[in-house]
Amino acid sequence: MSFQSPRRIRLIAGNTFLEAVRQRFFNSVLLIALALIASSTFFQQFDFGSSELKFIADFGFGALFFFGSILAITVTTQLFFNEMENRTALTMLAKPVHKFDFLAGKLLGVQLLMLAFTSLLSLVLLGILFWRETGLMGQMGPDAFSEGRMVRYMDILTFGFLQWLKFGLLSAVTLFVASFSNTNIYTIIVSFCILVVCQLQYIAREAYADMAPGPARLLVQGLGLIFPNFQLFNVGDQLLLTSQEGLPAVTVLQISLYACVYIVAFLLLAHLSFRRREI
């Protein structure tokens, strides 16, 4: 039996993607997220502080992060445990399919799903921003837009790409939790807790910088190292408007590399844990 067969991984990924797309949960979340982004111009009338375009972008980025995180965790868990509960995993693994192929296929399938989700939301957001900016250009006249359009539309796709990588990392973490967990509710809860810890770990790191040397400092320092820093992907404020200095391409590459290394690491850890598991 060959280890890591790309063909088998691709087949499992394709099936996982098709299965996930057919799920009602995915379609509901997708529809809600799309409706929310589409209605951002309505919510804009309640805005006091930000400019219209910034508000719409923030709103869209928020929907992408919020619903994407829910989707990445829940769909990964559901797809993994469906195979266990329906005993299809048993049938599959009885054939010449390595457990790593199974995990990698699942992760890749979820990533394909998240790619569809992220692309769709990013494109809708891009369309709404373009429509509103064109409207504003008509209202405010050419003087207000003397330096061209205010929105850097490529940045929306960059943000979408970085979020997609973050969802990949979140799915890998969820898969790792699922590899040793017995129930899907436990996996979902633990994964959400890890998401919050990863979002907040930068605070712990800044805290240990001011702490006196000792066990407490070591513990906080360790926690800062164990959990990936999800705030690295929180670059929405730096992107989008031409009046702001954008994010350098090197930084985007560094963030991507960071995500990829962690995705592979969590996948390998999931494999280590899953290979001993009785199905």
Binding site: D47, F48, G49, A57, L225, V235, L269
Partner: protein, 273 residues
């Protein structure tokens, strides 16, 4: 007890996971550190000095993400409803909540500070029996207490917007309009005028405050310097008004003849005597 017991196996797997993740964290640190620095520099809410503030902010950023703008907007509307009902304790916490959820818009900070410094003193004086019943000293004390609260709020705003002239101006305005203290107000107008994109009137008010304190020579010197620094072609700079004030001060101080200020005149500028 055998060491291949499931408990030991789980413990070993847990320890292995922690060690692997620790090593990975250490290995990735050289990649992560410059990236984090770059991301952090673009987001003021990641740069809080106080851990307490950072915790609140961090949790809200992580849970609400981009939705914090709309959440803060709705809470602001609710804060205004509370303001109408004059529920002071609830009002204070609402303002704190709004500015914590979304510290980016200046609107929330400035309007919150104004409500605290200008509206709440009226409520408190009325609660204590009204303007006729409350002695002037007590009224002044209430004004001072509320102004201090507003200053604390603006100081927090300055952590997020350290270069914004309107925040310095707001402190100056409260000293001037609420506490009637031009001496304390003046340095804040000066600081506001020194920020990038400061409105021109900040410097003019600073000079006027110097004059009100009787510091006419300093006011004259400041206005002379200011006149040279201001652009010639921007009508908002009001250079003619500056020149008028220079002449008024020269007359007051008895500056005549050759000692008088000689502006570099533009061809279309009239000289005022």
């Amino acid at each position: 007890m055998k060491f291949d017991h499931p408990i030991f196996q789980r413990l070993r797997a847990g320890c292995l996971t922690v060690v692997v993740l620790l090593m990975l964290g250490c290995l990735l640190r050289p990649l992560e550190a410059p990236t984090w620095q770059q991301v952090q520099s673009g987001q003021p809410e990641f740069n809080l000095a106080g851990l307490e503030g950072a915790l609140g902010q961090g949790i809200l950023v992580s849970t609400l993400g981009g939705f914090r703008a709309i959440m803060a907007d709705f809470l602001w509307i609710q804060a205004n409803t509370v303001w109408e009902k004059r529920e002071r304790a609830k009002f204070d916490s609402m303002l704190r909540l709004v500015t914590t959820i979304d510290p980016r818009p200046l609107f929330f900070w400035i309007h919150s500070a104004r409500m605290i410094a200008y509206d709440v003193p009226h409520w408190r004086i009325r609660e204590e029996g009204g303007y006729r019943a409350v002695p002037d000293s007590r009224q002044a004390e209430i004004d001072r207490e509320q102004a201090e609260q507003a200053f604390a709020l603006i100081r927090r705003a300055l952590e997020f917007h350290p270069d914004h002239p309107h925040l310095y101006l707001e402190i100056g305005q409260i000293y001037l309009n609420r506490l009637d203290d031009p001496e304390q107000a003046a340095p804040w107008f000066l600081r506001a005028s020194e920020q990038a994109n400061a409105p021109y009137y900040a410097a003019r008010i600073y000079a006027e405050l110097l004059r009100r304190q009787g510091k006419n020579p300093q006011a004259l010197e400041y206005l002379q310097g200011l006149y040279h620094r201001l652009p010639d072609h921007d009508p908002r700079a009001q250079k003619m008004i500056i020149l008028e004030r220079i002449r008024e001060l020269e007359e007051l101080l008895g500056v005549k003849g050759e000692s008088q200020f000689k502006p570099q005149l533009m061809p279309d500028t009239k000289f005022i005597h």
